[in-house]
């Protein structure tokens, strides 16, 4: 059993042990810490030029194997997963039932599996495995009254369920269409070879790409399939909100970059598909940006902002150039860390203050200087301030997108880039306003917030530190991505 298998099975095993009655806190935290160490070990192995890959066939016809392989993209996502897992575990308060630990480990283990497997069957399967605890936790332990959270849980179950099934149909169609002479296979490398040897007609590629875009897009809250996201994050228990918005949601983007772009290059470049994607991502940035500005509560504001920021990543994917894709990957990582940080703070505020409405709060900085600083990190990262990770990603996406085919004239993608830049301004408006309303000004009576205990502080500093380090040296991630080849445009 190699490193990558351990990365997947340690969280799952820890979840099983806790489910069997062992103490949650100790096991969950040690598993999370061990996982981070192993990810770092895997990254150093990868940088040293070792191939980390194993394959265990589970079915011959169609060929399905439990196959894991690490490259820069999957290791970046694995690092994100383990970082957010640690932070999420540290947010689980004393006296919470074991299911909090079990669910966070299952979500992280599932996400790990989805990011590390190179067989479409397991890639899809692990994502679903992570999705189930998310849905159950929102339904059972979500915030708000029972009827309301049930309704929201059903909404996202139906949205994500239908999205996953459309995705499954698209993936099945892909596997059938790219059948090599040796018989059906779910192995990405074999499918890639087949796509190279016998390219599919553009029309076929376009419609399969569309199915994948709708399926993956629903999972990432691509406009107009986004309406599940904001209420879900506002309702979800804090660790679940952190893990889903920070990590699991990135699966859809990961899938597009890992499967759809390389296997269906003509589909991605198809005129109609590209136009549609651009209009949808403009919807994400502008429409949801405006919606976000109007939010009066921190949780729905963060939920909507997370939907909005997906627009930038889609822009990178739509552009399809190497710079834009790398930017999108950095942004996936950076957004994951920054939104997890913000949701962690949001959860603490909800617990201590009992309300998240801007009109009822203010002046929190007086008693919680540490949280004020952390929130500043989250806010500035979210806006895309230079020096924090998100900036590096956004700049690369914008440059890459603007650069694409600019010599052929000014197209929709360039308009989308310009509108995206306006989106940054909108982010600044709502995030800074929220920051000011919550932490500065006159202290509202009856609400008091203090700084957290040391473990929580450490976990938050970890996230903020990563934002800073990657922001100052984006080369840490781009170095991993240098050999990553997405199909040539």
């Amino acid at each position: 059993m190699g490193l990558l298998e351990l990365l997947i099975f340690i969280p799952l095993l820890a979840a099983a042990l806790i489910g069997a009655g062992l103490p949650g806190k100790v096991i969950a935290r040690s598993a999370a810490a061990l996982n981070l160490l192993l990810v770092l070990a895997a990254i150093s192995q990868f940088n040293a030029g070792n191939t980390l890959a194993h394959s265990y066939p589970i079915l011959d016809n169609p060929a399905i194997a439990f196959a894991v392989k690490a490259d820069g993209l999957s290791l970046t996502m694995a690092l994100l997963t383990s970082l957010v897992l640690i932070a999420a575990n540290c947010q689980i308060g004393e006296g919470k039932p074991a299911i909090y630990y079990v669910s966070s480990l299952l979500i992280a283990g599932g996400a790990m599996g989805a990011f590390l497997c190179t067989d479409i069957f397991f890639l899809y399967g692990f994502h679903e495995l992570a999705l189930i605890p998310t849905l159950l936790m929102i339904a059972i332990h979500g915030h708000g009254d029972a009827t309301n959270r049930r309704a929201i849980a059903w909404k996202i179950t139906v949205y994500l369920g239908v999205g996953s099934l459309i995705l499954l149909a698209g993936l099945a169609a892909l596997v059938v269409a790219l059948k090599p002479a040796s018989g059906l296979t779910f192995d990405l490398a074999a499918l890639m070879q087949s796509a190279k040897d016998h390219p599919l007609p553009a029309a076929t590629q376009a419609w399969i790409f569309t199915a994948l875009l709708v399926g993956f897009g629903t999972l990432v809250s691509l406009f107009p399939f986004h309406s599940w996201a904001a209420p879900a994050y506002a309702t979800a228990p804090t660790p679940v909100a952190m893990l889903h918005s920070g990590v699991l949601k990135k699966f859809g983007l990961y899938g597009l970059i890992r499967i759809a772009l390389p296997l269906l290059p003509l589909g991605a470049k198809h005129e109609c598909v590209q136009q549609a994607l651009l209009w949808m991502l403009i919807g994400n940035i502008i429409v949801i940006g405006l919606v976000t500005i109007h939010q009066q509560k921190l949780d729905t504001l963060l939920g909507n902002s997370s939907v909005m920021h997906m627009g930038y990543i889609f822009l990178g994917i739509a552009a399809g150039t190497q710079v834009a894709i790398n930017g999108a990957i950095i942004l996936m990582f950076a957004h994951g860390i920054s939104i997890a940080l913000l949701f962690a703070l949001c959860g603490r505020m909800r617990n201590q203050l009992g309300t998240l409405e801007f009109s009822k709060l203010g002046g929190l900085a007086a008693n919680a200087p540490f949280l004020t600083v952390m929130f500043a990190f989250g806010t500035f990262a979210s806006i895309g301030l230079p020096g924090l990770a998100n900036f590096a990603g956004e700049v690369m996406v914008f440059l890459g997108a603007f650069d694409s085919n600019i010599n052929d004239g000014f197209k929709l993608i360039h308009w989308a880039t310009i509108l995206g830049l306006w989106g940054v301004v909108m982010s600044a408006v709502y995030m800074l306003r929220a920051y000011r309303n919550l932490f500065f000004g006159k202290a509202a009576s009856g609400h008091f917030m203090s700084d957290p205990v040391i473990t929580q502080r450490v976990s938050l500093v970890l996230l903020a530190g990563v934002l800073l380090v990657v922001g100052c040296c984006p080369g840490l991630i781009t170095g991993l991505l240098k050999d990553l080849t997405i199909a040539a445009p």
């Binding site: 066939p57 589970i58 079915l59 011959d60 016809n61 169609p62 399905i64 439990f66 069957f121 899809y124 399967g125 692990f126 994502h127 679903e128 495995l129 189930i132 849905l135 159950l136 339904a139 059972i140 849980a153 059903w154 179950t157 139906v158 369920g161 239908v162 099934l165 459309i166 499954l168 149909a169 099945a172 169609a173 596997v175 059938v176 059948k179 059906l184």
Partner: protein, 475 residues
């Protein structure tokens, strides 16, 4: 070393002997009947796995021993074994509802009849012609008439028995009528002969089509394919739960094996009616999936929910059949077995603890028995087709078969059905895991039930992550 044919004879003989034992033996000996039935089935399973390939020469014209037959024979034995364990688990409930007030009636037949049914199902799996199909089919069906109405003090069971009897008899009539037409059109009763005649231009296609339609209608009734699925919810809900489990897994599988053989005969190379039969099956599949999935959304009774679920599963299997993927049908059946039997076993265990089968009765189950709640989650997750459970593999293969035949419309409808499944299969899981006030006594689960539950959970997960276990049937 016994041949599969002798194993079937053995089971039928043991079944009859046990009925006699139950009728004439003393009170003490009667307690032996359930365990004797379980032992005989287990022994038959072992014999089946170590069988000799030789069968008497005189029987070969109408008795097949191909891989399809062997798979379904083992399938029938495993099903019967688990059903008998489920029946034993719910023994006192069956006894209570089948005897008059204050009288303890013997219910040995309840354990003996499944052996006879099992022999019939195993025989059906080998049917090479329409007579060899019809005789064991009736053996199975008639035994089920008794079993469905067995708990005679329960009005629902009686109602279910009457409905099943009337509709079952009607479908038998239709089936025989179909057989007659097919024989008239092709001059042959064997599937080989029918396939050969179907491709001859001299055969009257209209007559053959009418025969095929009637035959498929009769078999469609047995497997619960639309539009012949109306009886399922009432009968499944009314029948004693072990019998429901037997009907929904064993009887359905037996129906599918003969359906597979009949469809293969009608859609062979150059068959004049291949297109029509294919289209009929496709429409039936789409209709069955929808008529199973959509009403299931509104169910508040778990047993009835599982009845609708079984209709929807039948739809997926008919879809695979319509795509000519007979291996996939068998594979799907293999994934359907552990999850469904686990579901019914849980219902029986809960019933013995005074927990009803309404959805709301499941509230707080995770507190009262973590094992049962987890098993429930696994069973329904597999039925919903969540990845890494057996159910997902089955659905995936069906989707792939349909996509490779370019039946995109039906795939879209199947996606709708599967999406509805996310709702109605998740509701019991959610209810079981929701914290509630009120009843919180711990539930007792007998050791036998614990072991069976564990084995079935392992089965669901093992097939889900290592489908090679069922690989042989795909060839």
């Amino acid at each position: 070393m016994m041949s599969s044919f002798s194993i079937e004879i053995f089971l039928a003989v043991v079944g009859v002997l046990l009925i006699a034992l139950d009728a004439f033996a003393t009170e003490l000996n009667r307690k032996v009947v359930p365990w004797a039935a379980i032992g005989a089935t287990g022994l038959a399973l072992i014999l089946m796995l170590t069988r000799s390939a030789d069968i008497p020469a005189w029987i070969t014209p109408f008795y097949a021993t191909d891989s399809l037959a062997v798979f379904y024979k083992v399938f029938a034995l495993v099903t019967t074994l688990i059903v008998l364990i489920i029946a034993l688990e719910g023994d006192f409930i069956t006894a209570y509802f089948s005897s008059s007030e204050g009288v303890k009636t013997r219910i040995g037949e309840f354990y003996a009849l499944p052996l006879i049914v099992c022999a019939g199902m195993m025989w059906m799996a080998s049917a090479k012609d329409l007579v060899a199909l019809f005789v064991p089919l009736e053996l199975v069906t008639v035994s089920f008439y008794v079993l469905v109405a067995f708990t005679r003090r329960s009005a629902m069971s009686l109602e279910a028995g009457v409905k099943y009897l009337i509709l079952g008899a009607l479908s038998t009539g239709v089936l025989v009528f179909g057989i007659a037409w097919v024989y008239g059109a092709t001059g042959s009763l064997s599937f080989e002969g029918i396939a050969a005649a179907a491709s001859k231009p001299t055969t009257n296609a209209m007559a053959l089509m009418l025969g095929a339609a009637l035959l498929l209608a009769g078999l469609g009734f047995k497997v619960g394919a639309a539009p012949f699925q109306i009886w399922i919810p009432d009968v499944y809900q009314g029948a004693p739960t072990p019998v429901t489990a037997f009907l929904s897994v064993g009887s359905k599988a037996a129906g599918f094996v003969v359906l597979t053989r009949a469809v293969q005969a009608f859609t062979g190379d150059g068959s004049q009616i291949a297109t029509q039969v294919g289209n009929a099956l496709l429409s039936a599949a789409a209709l069955t999936i929808l008529l199973g999935s959509l009403p299931a959304i509104f169910q508040t009774n778990v047993k009835r929910l599982m009845a609708y679920s079984s209709i929807s599963h039948a739809g997926f299997m008919v879809l695979a059949l319509a795509c000519g993927a007979t291996g996939t049908v068998a594979f799907y059946m293999g994934t359907y077995l552990p999850a469904t039997l686990l579901g019914f076993l849980l219902l029986v265990v809960l019933r013995t603890q005074g927990v009803g089968d309404e959805l709301k009765d499941l509230a707080g189950l995770s507190k009262r028995s973590p094992l049962l709640a987890f098993a429930l989650a696994v069973a329904f997750a597999s039925m919903a087709g969540l990845p890494l459970t057996a159910g997902f593999m089955g659905k995936l293969l069906v989707f792939m078969a349909a996509i490779s035949k370019a039946h995109y419309g039906v795939v879209a409808l199947a996606v709708v059905g599967a999406a509805a499944g996310f709702y109605y299969y998740f509701r019991p899981i959610l209810t079981a895991y929701s914290p509630v006030e009120g009843e919180s006594t711990k539930l007792q689960v007998s050791p036998v039930a614990r072991v069976t539950i564990a084995v079935l959970i392992v089965g669901v997960v093992a097939v889900g992550v290592y489908p090679k276990l069922l690989q042989s049937v795909l060839k």
